[in-house]
Symmetry: C2
Subunit: 376 residues, 2 copies
Amino acid sequence: MYHLIKNQGRARRGEIITPHGTIQTPAFMNVATCGAIKGAVSALDLKELRCQVQLCNTYHLHLRPGDENVKKLGGLHEFTRWDGPILTDSGGFQVFSLAKLRNIKEEGVTFASHIDGHRIFMGPEESMTIQSNLGSTIAMAFDECIENPAEYDYTKRSCDRTYRWLCRCKNKMRELNSLETTINKKQMLFGINQGSTYDDLRIEHMKRIRELDLDGYAVGGLAVGESAEEMYHILDVVGEHMPEDKPRYLMGVGTPVNILEAVYRGIDMFDCVMPTRNARHANVFTWSGRRNMNNEKYSLDTEPLDNECDCPVCRNFTRAYIRHLFKSGEMLAMRLCVMHNVYFYNTLLMRIREALDEDRYEQFYLHYRDILDKRI
Amino acid sequence: MYHLIKNQGRARRGEIITPHGTIQTPAFMNVATCGAIKGAVSALDLKELRCQVQLCNTYHLHLRPGDENVKKLGGLHEFTRWDGPILTDSGGFQVFSLAKLRNIKEEGVTFASHIDGHRIFMGPEESMTIQSNLGSTIAMAFDECIENPAEYDYTKRSCDRTYRWLCRCKNKMRELNSLETTINKKQMLFGINQGSTYDDLRIEHMKRIRELDLDGYAVGGLAVGESAEEMYHILDVVGEHMPEDKPRYLMGVGTPVNILEAVYRGIDMFDCVMPTRNARHANVFTWSGRRNMNNEKYSLDTEPLDNECDCPVCRNFTRAYIRHLFKSGEMLAMRLCVMHNVYFYNTLLMRIREALDEDRYEQFYLHYRDILDKRI
């Protein structure tokens, strides 16, 4: 259940009450694709990193270790030992981006596993069943995620099908939540708005899916090739038609500035691999901009990654040590930078919430908009 | 300073008082080659893993980031953030095992860096200077580590040279410890017994080096090709001639059973890459024997790695989850197994000390000797 605490302009301060705890929004969700955050970070580390929500990938877990095995092992909470809210995506995005030899029909999609090539069928019912087996807090609807730019006619037909798939998801989820053997009988379902960069298709699709009265609504199909300005424009256009009393999730976004801009436009939830992926390539986020820790200039630098940060890494280690670890190929380099970046993202959202609480989000947004994506 | 608390047979329970804290012996030293334990484990994790001593490699740190840089950064304690005792090896073992195109003369060894091939000279004075720059608690003498089997005549000449090198190490260390700019002016120096598998050469060398009244004595040149029985025999033979009032360190050893056997023969200190290297290959040590976590039989196993273990990993994660992480190529798999194995080794030594304290080491040794190296 979503509770809107207050607005500042279109920006929203709220909370989502779930069976696994309350999520303070705006919130960042930390990506743990295969049930672990990449970079040797475990559920034991997450509380200290201000994580509120862990996001796991349905497609990956279906292939390995298999969602039925995860169910036998007690579900994702038991398996990963994270006891807070977990969101699972629908598998759709990976089916359309990672898997090979796709074949899309009304029933669903047949595709070849990226691991061993074996043929798999996934439709709305299969995606709901897998997510029910995983026992996540929030399940995402199975949709077609099309690349930008896309043809208008194809996008329109795809939106229609994605709407029909959503109706099937809702029915299947209701059925699964009523079964005795289901791990989380209160699993929530979010619908996903599609429509590429076509205003009319986006609006029409949003109007139709809001009628289904789901637990939340995501904006999907963005950050897949279009410009940041196009993305912000879609948020402006779609935002007006999203229900006020449901959480709004912008999928797969983004840089710190993308997040500032999207919160400004009313988004409540985010997820992105950027903090972890960048960290593994020695790129760290700071309150003064981004640093590349491979840079020679850090070789004798005894400052922490970020002077303004109080994460466990910045409280203990120097830039010189972390640069040395990267140069020596030590895994610890990645772990330390992943921890820092995850903390940075979760703290960014915490500071956004504090600014909203204190009615100064506009100033916060204007101040950091010109700083956070800068390379220093 | 070494304090012998008690004996049980030849086994010794003692403590080594150092400027960075007291080491309870017998002790295992945890290998942090480049200043970090491989497997994404940091100094912040070590206390929880019952680590007493961190061991860093002189050769690696001399090449990268450079010992003079480490000195500028405040020494290894400041650099790695480990505030307990640190032992540095002399670089000798790596010069003789890793480096290419060696040329040994009375002055020292010229060799090519394994990183970029550039020519480097290292002799006793250079090794002491590097270790002084690193600021470790205990420095090891620069010696020639010869492979087994070795020719008698070569071994004899090598032992003579290693003795002359040791005298030069002692003089150089005294000089370095008296300098104003030295980080650790109380740096301790351990000598290293050599002599391959020749009893007479081992004994003669030990008798000569004990006269130098160093802070401790290591048995080197073992676990480099000879059988376990030959190693134990050398410990029997040399042990008689090692001073009672100095710590005894068996370098680079070994399996849990090797350690039980060596403690039985009076050894106080150990180091080995086995707990970390094995962990990275999914091999874990338990109180019932060794497991390979890639094994299919663990895929639905909800037990911890070791039912008898209370490490942070065993208190939280299942075999099924850890196997899944290995299969998915997640770094976290390595971190969790390294943490477990490091804890296991440090706990093994703790339990050895408890058994000695309670005069039941013989029973402890006889019980676990047949169990710990077994594959289960």
